[in-house]
């Protein structure tokens, strides 16, 4: 148990008792609240506003073994100009790729939008700290200004919160000036109590963003999970006056879903968080649905899949 020696509970006493003292989350109640907010009816000018806001919050993502520089470059140019037929369409917030393809994305986007790299043995996180730090440093060196790391869920679930904490601290240091998004992989943490604990743990360790999921585990982002993370971010702000961002990643495919998330943000943490600096969608297919809805709102009729690009 070398990990226990490296991360003795004693040195994390304050953290452990803090996490143990967090109020619980009643799952039924949290789900009911998320569902109730999901019934908000967003129409007309508020819908147009929400769609543009959602587009500007997308981390356009490709995280496949089959990814190539060509694929990443094509996606990156779409990220800059999501709808070539309508230059008023905002750019997305960032492209999100594996570390070895950061250079390809950066070549296309320059410094016009962010380039995020998944790191730390994404998606499982099963590697030594040395490997994780090297992974992070290489991505930053290649031009990533945002790092999406995964936490060690194994350590979290065995109660070794100190190990999870120390790893985040170390990765944050390795990031330098790059922003750190900490992926909780809530689909593996299962309970909302765990989601709240992990959110606080990540924020205290220095996360700039907390992120729901890798997209490789089902369920990925859900409304109740995002609600609990937003509540944690809100409470953290109350205590520290620091605003931490939230990224809902995976499983959000339609404009309707995206708008539900914006409502959730608006009514949980307030509209200060309605900016790409503090809320993101990690998604690949969502963007095209947002573009179709945008075209429909402007022209008054639906087009079709051939009127948005496939990159």
């Amino acid at each position: 148990m070398s990990s226990l020696e490296v991360h003795p509970a004693e040195s994390h006493k304050g953290l452990l008792s803090f996490l143990a003292g967090l109020p619980g989350v009643d799952q039924v109640g949290a789900e009911a609240r998320a569902a109730a907010l999901g019934t908000r009816s967003i129409k007309k000018e508020s819908k147009i506003w929400a769609i543009d806001m959602a587009i500007s919050m997308v981390d356009l993502t490709t995280l496949e073994g089959a990814d190539t520089a060509g694929k990443v470059k094509a996606m990156s140019s779409k990220a800059l100009h999501p709808d070539p037929a309508d230059p008023s369409t905002p750019s997305v917030a960032a492209v999100c790729v594996y570390g070895d393809l950061v250079y390809a994305a950066r070549e296309v986007v320059g410094d016009r939008i962010h380039v995020a790299a998944v790191a730390t043995a994404f998606p499982s996180g099963r590697a030594s700290l040395g490997v994780k730090l090297a992974d992070t440093k290489e991505a930053v060196a290649a031009g990533a200004d945002e790092i999406d790391m995964v936490i060690d869920r194994g350590a979290f679930l065995t109660g070794n919160f100190g190990k999870v904490f120390d790893e985040i601290v170390a990765v944050k240091q390795a990031c330098g000036t790059a922003h750190l998004k900490v992926i909780l992989e809530t689909g593996e943490l299962k309970t909302l109590d765990n989601v709240r604990k992990a959110s606080w743990l990540a924020m205290k360790a220095g996360a700039d963003f907390i992120k729901t999921s890798t997209g490789k585990v089902t369920p990925a982002a859900t409304l109740p999970v995002t609600l609990v993370m937003l509540e944690a971010v809100r409470d953290y702000y109350q205590e520290t006056n620091t605003r931490i961002g939230v990224k809902a990643a995976g499983g959000i495919k339609t404009s309707k879903d995206a708008i539900k998330y914006l409502v959730l943000v608006n009514e949980t943490v307030g509209d200060a968080w309605l900016t790409p600096d503090l809320f993101r969608f990690g998604a690949s297919t969502l963007l095209n649905d947002l573009l179709l809805q945008r075209q429909k709102m402007i022209t008054g009729h639906y087009s079709g899949p051939d009127y948005v690009t496939i990159d």
């Binding site: 109020p23 619980g24 989350v25 009643d26 039924v28 109640g29 949290a30 009911a32 609240r33 019934t39 908000r40 009816s41 967003i42 129409k43 007309k44 000018e45 508020s46 819908k47 506003w49 929400a50 806001m53 609990v228 509540e231 914006l262 409502v263 608006n266 009514e267 509209d271 309605l274």
Partner: protein, 480 residues
């Protein structure tokens, strides 16, 4: 720019309100013999329709029709056939759900979100649930051959017009009784639409009769000698008057009256969900809920933080056009009720409690009251003792579970209570000691047709819903 929600009003095109409405007696709409009155939309003060006022002649005719239907048809019909009618009614309510929801919101002032997601679906659920009982009554624990009582006179309030109708009519019909129902004076429209459903369902004439009118109509109905059973939901004062009126008669009675429920939050509660439960407990339906969690009991160690969270949450409530799908707080049902709320909240201020409301724009027309929180409330204040029946929360604190129980029970009412704690054993211990007919744990204002509802002390007696609710309409004696 911040995220503004554009108006999203539900269309009123689906409802067809007749300018003048009659009574529903013996399966037909007939003009009333009293002086008609008007029902208004409390959000706009516009007149919606003219409503017939039933006088003694009409009450006699309705009870006569109900008696005839009871003797000739309904009490003799096999349970499985009664069940078929109830299933049919339930499905028709579902089919016309949007129409019911819009009409309820127009006549009552409650947000469409609530009439659409709560009132109408639960009303349909009550008919489905009781339809299932109609042919199984001998297994309900009321003897091997339980019998209906006869003609039931039912008087319902204005806070959940259709839902209270369903709570009354569904069990009465399932058990073989016939009904004369009087909806509240300010909210008669969904009851009249329900009368149309009875016609559509081919319910035998006289099984359901609907008399609109004021308190006089209600009194005549209660005093009618050929009524066997009275079911009343409303104020404690009227409930007491009814009990006096029928003293010495063989009429059976159930009363569901007022409340002043304690919503008790312990320091180990899931606070974010507790805040939602507090909001749902007192601001749901503008606080026009007899089981509303109008007294918040907070453990002192978390009181300050919880009040802060609650106030932040209240800032997001949206007050306004009840037909807007994003409205959380609708209109107060009547000027009379609004005046009562204003009077009681003034007493709160006068007696030294601290008043707070979120910023919200109050529409110019109609009856409105901003969600209000009183802190520094003590047991001695009127706002801690009297039922306000509005969106007004009184916050008290406690130090120990025993003190919470004492304060929760220190009220003439006993309808409902809420307990918020992550500790299961504490929930069970508290639920045993709180004298309230309904105790919710880590939730509030949840209703299910299978779960009995009713009060202790001045909150009334008898239960509605569930196997227990059937007992209010059955006797184990052979009918004479």
């Amino acid at each position: 720019m911040s995220f503004q929600y554009a108006p999203a009003p539900e269309s009123t095109a689906i409802v067809n309100i007749k300018s003048s409405n009659g009574l529903f007696i013996n399966g037909e709409f007939t003009p009333g013999h009293g002086t008609p009155f008007k029902t208004i939309n409390p959000a706009t003060e516009e007149v919606l329709a003219e409503i017939a006022q039933a006088n003694q002649e009409d009450v006699d005719a309705a009870v006569r029709a109900a008696r005839r239907a009871y003797d000739k048809t309904w009490s003799k019909m096999p349970g499985r056939d009664r069940g078929k009618y109830l299933f049919r009614i339930a499905r028709l309510i579902q089919e016309r759900a949007r129409e019911f929801a819009v009409l309820e919101t127009m006549d009552n002032g409650k947000p469409i979100r609530e009439s659409r997601d709560v009132d109408v679906p639960i009303a349909a659920a009550h008919f489905f649930y009781h339809a299932g009982w109609a042919d199984k009554l001998e297994f309900a624990g009321y003897g091997t051959n339980p019998q209906p009582l006869g003609v039931a006179a039912q008087i319902i309030p204005w806070n959940f017009p259709l839902l209270m109708l369903a709570w009354k009519i569904a069990p009465a019909l399932a058990t073989g009784n016939t009904v004369v129902l009087k909806p509240a004076e300010t909210t008669p429209l969904t009851a009249l639409l329900f009368a149309e459903i009875c016609q559509q369902a081919d319910l035998p004439p006289g099984v359901v009769n609907i008399l609109t009118g004021d308190g006089d109509t209600g009194r005549m109905l209660v005093e009618h000698p050929d009524v066997n059973k009275i079911a009343f939901t409303g104020s404690t004062a009227v409930g007491q008057a009814i009990q006096r009126q029928i003293a010495g008669s063989s009429k059976r009675l159930t009363l569901e009256l007022g409340g002043k429920a304690a919503n008790i939050v312990f320091d180990d509660a899931p606070i974010d969900q507790a805040v939602e439960g507090i909001v749902n407990g007192i601001y749901f339906n503008q606080g026009h809920v007899c089981c509303a969690g109008s007294r918040l009991l907070l453990q002192e160690s978390i009181a300050e933080k919880t009040i802060e969270s609650l106030k932040r949450r209240l800032q997001t409530l949206r007050l306004g056009d009840p037909l807007d799908k994003n409205t959380d707080i609708g209109a107060i049902n009547s000027r009379e009720q609004l005046n009562r709320i204003i009077d009681l909240t003034k007493s709160g201020e006068d007696e030294g409690a601290q008043r707070w409301s979120p910023d919200c724009v109050i529409p110019e027309k109609g009856f409105w009251f901003a969600p209000t929180v009183f802190t520094n409330v003590t047991q001695a204040h009127r706002i801690a003792r009297e039922e306000i029946f509005g969106p007004v929360l009184s916050v008290l604190t406690f130090r120990t579970p025993d003190e919470a129980i004492e304060k929760a029970n220190n009220t003439p009412y006993g309808l409902s209570a809420g307990i918020w704690t992550e500790k299961g054993s504490r929930i069970l211990a508290m639920a045993n000691k709180v004298r309230a007919g309904v105790v919710w744990a880590n939730t509030f204002n949840r209703f299910d047709p299978a779960s009995p509802f009713g009060g202790y002390k001045e909150s009334g007696f008898g239960r509605e819903g569930g196997i227990q609710g059937l007992g209010a309409y059955l006797t184990s004696e052979e009918s004479s």
